[in-house]
């Protein structure tokens, strides 16, 4: 539940526990009070009501997308 969307980290502001994220060309500062692990530029995070909730596992996302592609290739001859 609860609207939450992936965004890319474009600036780090460790002194105020916040980061600036970009969502398709819209930039916003969000709090990273809830993230313990180190954050870096170009990481993707999920944003909910002004907070980063966690880091998105890029490798996992890529793997999933790759899997969909493979399924598409396998299914094509049938259709």
């Amino acid at each position: 539940m609860c609207l939450s969307i992936p965004s890319k980290i474009v600036e780090l502001h460790p002194e105020e526990t916040s980061i600036t994220v970009d969502t398709m060309g819209v930039k916003r500062k969000v709090s990273c009070h809830l993230i313990d692990e180190p954050l870096a530029l170009d990481d993707y995070v999920l944003i909910h009501i002004g907070f980063a909730m966690n880091k998105i596992d890029k490798a996992d996302a890529l793997e999933t997308l790759e899997l969909y592609k493979e399924i598409a290739q396998k299914m094509e001859p049938e259709s």
């Binding site: 970009d22 969502t23 909910h48 999933t64």
Partner: protein, 373 residues
Amino acid sequence: MLELKQLYQGFRDPTTIANLSKQIAQQAAKVDGDIRIMEVCGGHTHTIMKYGLNQLLPDNIDFIHGPGCPVCIMPKERIDHAIAMASQDNVILVTLGDMIRVPGSKGTLAQCRADGRDIRPIYDPLDTIKIAQDNPDKTVVFFAIGFETSTPMTAVLIEQAEKLAINNLYFHINHVLVPPAIDAVMADPKVKVNAFIGPSHVSVIQGSEIYRPAVDKYGTPVVVSGFEPVDVMESILRITTQKAANVAELDNQYSRAVTPEGNLAAKAIIDKYLCIRPEFRWRGLGPIPNSALMLREAFSHRDAELHFASILPTEEIEDHKACQCGDILRGLCKPKDCKVFGRGCSPESPMGSCMVSSEGACNAYYRYGGIND
């Protein structure tokens, strides 16, 4: 290299959805009887309705829209609390946007604002700090709503208020929990639900493991699912595959964002400031034990329910008898079976929880339904 765009487009790809739809049909053909999936979360209801995913599924798969919309399940007396507090002189009531349209027994917060009261819908809870600092002579109340997903943000706000010694900031806590709501739905012997799509943003915070007891207790598959249409379709495929193999397991489709244990930092800060409330009345489902949170005693000096105790109404307010939200939430009937649906009850003047916001089942049917009739 993963582009941000792929995280949107990749999980909305029409070909992938068509493929998943075919695979679901193949698996569903192997299943005797109906697969009745409760998507607990309002966000999933929204995805299913907005993208019309139900139209891409075989006849033996049906959705039951669960109680997972935090504004829908708020009982009217809690909204009356908000209005009572906001109606005091020198009070600023701050809450998240969705809340201000929902009617209590005496109108909405939006109407209260139109009467001249200071009610501020915000997007970011931390904005409340500035409001409280800018208005030292006013009492500022943060009317906190939301499921597990939105809870740690309130906890951070409490922490900031404590650290900065902002003494004019109080909290009215209405944070509710998903697992007890699942129990409440399943407690009815007539209930028809036999699989769950688990709200994954809840699990981003609390981990996928919070649904394991439901899998064990009810023998139903639970698949923690992302919110993009591909995520939801893949989760339905995973449920259908489990049904075809006649197993019931906990599965995590949204592994790019959800771990078994969740966000430990977020869990720690919630635990520091909030604890389980012995009982909370859910609109549509009634009182559910241990289903919500409240401030820990050490922070009772910030508890708006104590500070304003003398003016908060105590009467519980039931919905109209004809309203069948409780049955709809349990999957016992559909919105269209309700006598008041679309007649006395509409999004402009909702009589029950499911009509309140666009995440509610009746509201979604009212707006988007009927296209195939």
